[in-house]
Subunit: 345 residues, 2 copies
Amino acid sequence: MDTVSSKPVVTIRDLAGTLGLSHTTVSRALADHPKIKAETKLRVRALARELGYVPNGSAQSMRGQHGPTIGLIIPDIQNDFYASIAKTVADAAAARGFQLTLSVTEDNPEREMDDLRALIVARAAGIIITPTASPKAQTLELLAGANAVQLVRQDERLPHEAVVIDDYLGVSAATRHLVTYGHRDIAYVGTGTDLSCGRDRLAGFRAVMIEHGLNPDRVALGQPRPEFSHHAVHGLMSGSQRPTALVMGSSSLTIGALKALRSLNLQWPEDVSIVGYGDPVWFELMGSGLTTVRLPVQEMGAYVTSLLLARTELPRVTGGDACPQPSRFAPSLVLRGSARILTAG
Amino acid sequence: MDTVSSKPVVTIRDLAGTLGLSHTTVSRALADHPKIKAETKLRVRALARELGYVPNGSAQSMRGQHGPTIGLIIPDIQNDFYASIAKTVADAAAARGFQLTLSVTEDNPEREMDDLRALIVARAAGIIITPTASPKAQTLELLAGANAVQLVRQDERLPHEAVVIDDYLGVSAATRHLVTYGHRDIAYVGTGTDLSCGRDRLAGFRAVMIEHGLNPDRVALGQPRPEFSHHAVHGLMSGSQRPTALVMGSSSLTIGALKALRSLNLQWPEDVSIVGYGDPVWFELMGSGLTTVRLPVQEMGAYVTSLLLARTELPRVTGGDACPQPSRFAPSLVLRGSARILTAG
DNA sequence: TTGTATGCGTTATCAC
DNA sequence: GTGATAACGCATACAA
């Protein structure tokens, strides 16, 4: 009807005014306080609905210890792994009446710090973070005073518990599988060693190679982006001394590798065997199916969340300054069709 | 050093106290107010850092019109399309100093309402929403008074602008492509018609079929989940009268369809041609590449965000009650190897 | 250049 | 059962 209705924004005092009550009573009525007359509650609520009253969250939060949100700081939301984690956390948060504040850092320490700061300013009830390789000093300070849990990556300078993947186990299992299949010339394409998970994966590869007296130095390390592995695999496979098998150190790298193989017109497992890392739905659909290291995403997501929320609802327990042992989740090798038995040649 | 350091929580008054200043001065110093002595600013900031002062966001928000967050309400974060959107919105939000509050509804109207309410309570600066098929009455009311934009789906009862895909165009192009290739027996596997986008896609298929005098009723409609299309395609392809081509109505359905074909040991494009919907990175890597309808994700994400933020920073303009025409973004057909020319037989 | 007083919307404490 | 009043932490209009 009216043309300019810029929502007058209703407060409990407004309700109190038009109802001839005090704002205290209105507040109590809305909160279903035991000793408010039933009829009063009804009247208050009726008007509240009619006028479209919505409580002001800021005002409410100002009184409590923390805000109604939990933060999730991850490097990439388009990555299947993190998207799954986000889903799990979103569900858990919603179930307990928390909001989910998402930060996508792209592994940029600046952004990590800015978004974290915003979370601290908002007095987030809890924070789940996959720290960048080199967080800024401020980030560490900010985090130290917060209720947080580390996910996937662990920065040793942080006092918080960490939920990580047993990367050593994952890559070593993949490598061992290929060795068992008779491969001797195996290359590893993985992420840099600035992060412990990159180091662990590399170590898993090298350990198994050395254990079998094979060359552990056929290795390409770089950023976890498809472009890098595309380039790396292209180089590896266009040389004269081609490896007969490839072990991948991340799902993004797996994508790039597959693209490279395709551009070189190389078939797998015929021309080269390959074991992926991670297990998005489509790995199963590729060719004869991609043999891969499956990460226990669901379990990890559920666990970090419960870990965080457990402490969220309790009086903050600052557990010593010692960096606690991380909870390691074991990946499993999914056997499909991308690794073949090498017949002596 | 100390064992029990439960962070005393520092406020500007605390700073003011130990500095022998008034909290006003501290406030101004922190805000870099022009007429505060440079030296004072320095002292204040030094102490602030030392004591780990962090402003209280709730208190700050209480004074302004809205909180520092923008909300994104989507049905699924594991879906490539929405994950891309989330990325775009996260970037834009971070760039402008907003936080991103993510809600994953799973198309559950209850959850949609709860999460939306939380956003309203938090006085979110703006909201991007992909509404469920049947939002609750409350949801509509809550939304009506908010600064919001609809994405992908448009609920006609809502007064907000909508940014959608030209679904009719997408599916009709896919269908036409197959017809041009000589297919006459084409089936469409799509989403239900409770949403306009589902209706548009179906209409696109039927229109082209009818236009060419072909049977427009080879259709399977259901939930946008892989399980549904797996089942549907399995049925379609095990019957005696197999279609020679399949048009898919969503990316999840495309996944299920591919799984079904694999389980039936059917090759594409040899045994059946198929055109997907959406274009996650891996479509390109499947077999000879999946011919598909590419959605302009980047553009749409950038556009909704700019649309929302433009109004966020301006004085709220309530533009009439009439439901405005949606901005339609045209998809494009990506020709790869999953559709083949049918030689008369 | 700095300080005083006030208000934002709620809830909690103490009356009555 | 209900109502004054204070307090949460911050920013600003208004002095000084």
